[in-house]
Amino acid sequence: MLRMAEALRRALNLGSSAESEEYTTEAGPPLLLLGGPGSGKTSLLFTAALEAAGEGRGPILFLTQRPLQSLPRGRGAVLDPLRLQKIRFQYPPSTHELLQLLCSAHEARGPAPSLLLLDGLEEYLVGDWGPQEVAYLAALLLDTAAHFSHQIGPGHGCGLIVALQIQEEGDSGDALQLSLLQRYFPAQCWLQVDAQGPGQHCLRACLDPGGQGPRAEWWVAFQPDGEMTVTPWPAQTGNPSSDKGSSSEGQP
């Protein structure tokens, strides 16, 4: 199993009691978390941060343009202050400052992060961005995580998860940008609103670990009070080929 996907998988696996899978500390390929507006990307990212904070490894670096408005609910036992303390939030207000932060990450003192998270990548990709600029930002994210891995030492790596808001289908403007990002983030998790799932606001999460393991799917449901529940997608154990065409995955 890949650690990168593992943090997210553990975040998604909360609903199931089966925790038989052995946990490894190897950082897998970087992961892109994709979904439309309000698809729970921030909640999942934060849950992944809390999960990683409970591993007893380095701090978690959480980059986002603005502070979280609310914390995911229903995880009382895990939302303990010791875990929260391990999450270091930084709020680069512009692309310029984000790039500066990544370029100078090696100047920071203290223990290297075990997980690097970036929420709202789309907010940093506004304006006139050519392919090379988009690629450089993606490559710098990878390079920063690679440097943290190098600092941590062999056997343990720094994971990287980046959340990107995508437009609903039909908007081709971001196709090149998305395919560029997918080049650097081979593992992807797609979030789609699913009216048939349990709960008021339900999403289907599909994790493709970049050809390094089987795809897996979950339902992520948000109750009116903000509580988040995660259950394995039922089709997983049934006919795995029946849901092939329903995901928006793949090159546009």
């Binding site: 790039l99 100047e107 392919p131 090379q132 690629a135 990878l142 690679a146 190098h150 600092q151 081979p186």
Partner: protein, 145 residues
Amino acid sequence: MAVALPGVTLPSVVEELLSEMAAAVQENAQIPDEHLLSLKFIFGSSAIQALDLVDRQSITLISSPSGRRVYQVLGSSGRTYLCLASCHYCSCPAFAFSVLRKNDSLLCKHLLAVYLSQVTRTCRQLKVSDKQLTDILFTKKKQEA
């Protein structure tokens, strides 16, 4: 690795070729002709240009006390390009066009030269301060923007 991840790793056939070349260089201090032919077969004219860059010792590995590293390649035009050590990125126009936009090349000649200089161990080494490395990474961005 079963699948090549285009931004992160090389296809396994290229990985194998590079490691065979590295072993041959260690043994005989030169790259065997058959390996050069394979390289030409996979990368076309970029292979020759990349070998030329290696011959001219145009590749510099810049590192700072933090352990972070980056490559700088002096192109045939006299311009220097930045290549990241951890994933496939080069600041040259060919990388932007042929690799990123058209997706019809695997690497540009500068990135290939970086790989080949690792094989032949002919990288120049430059030690800079952590702050200077930040400037190298960040200035590159400003020049392009």
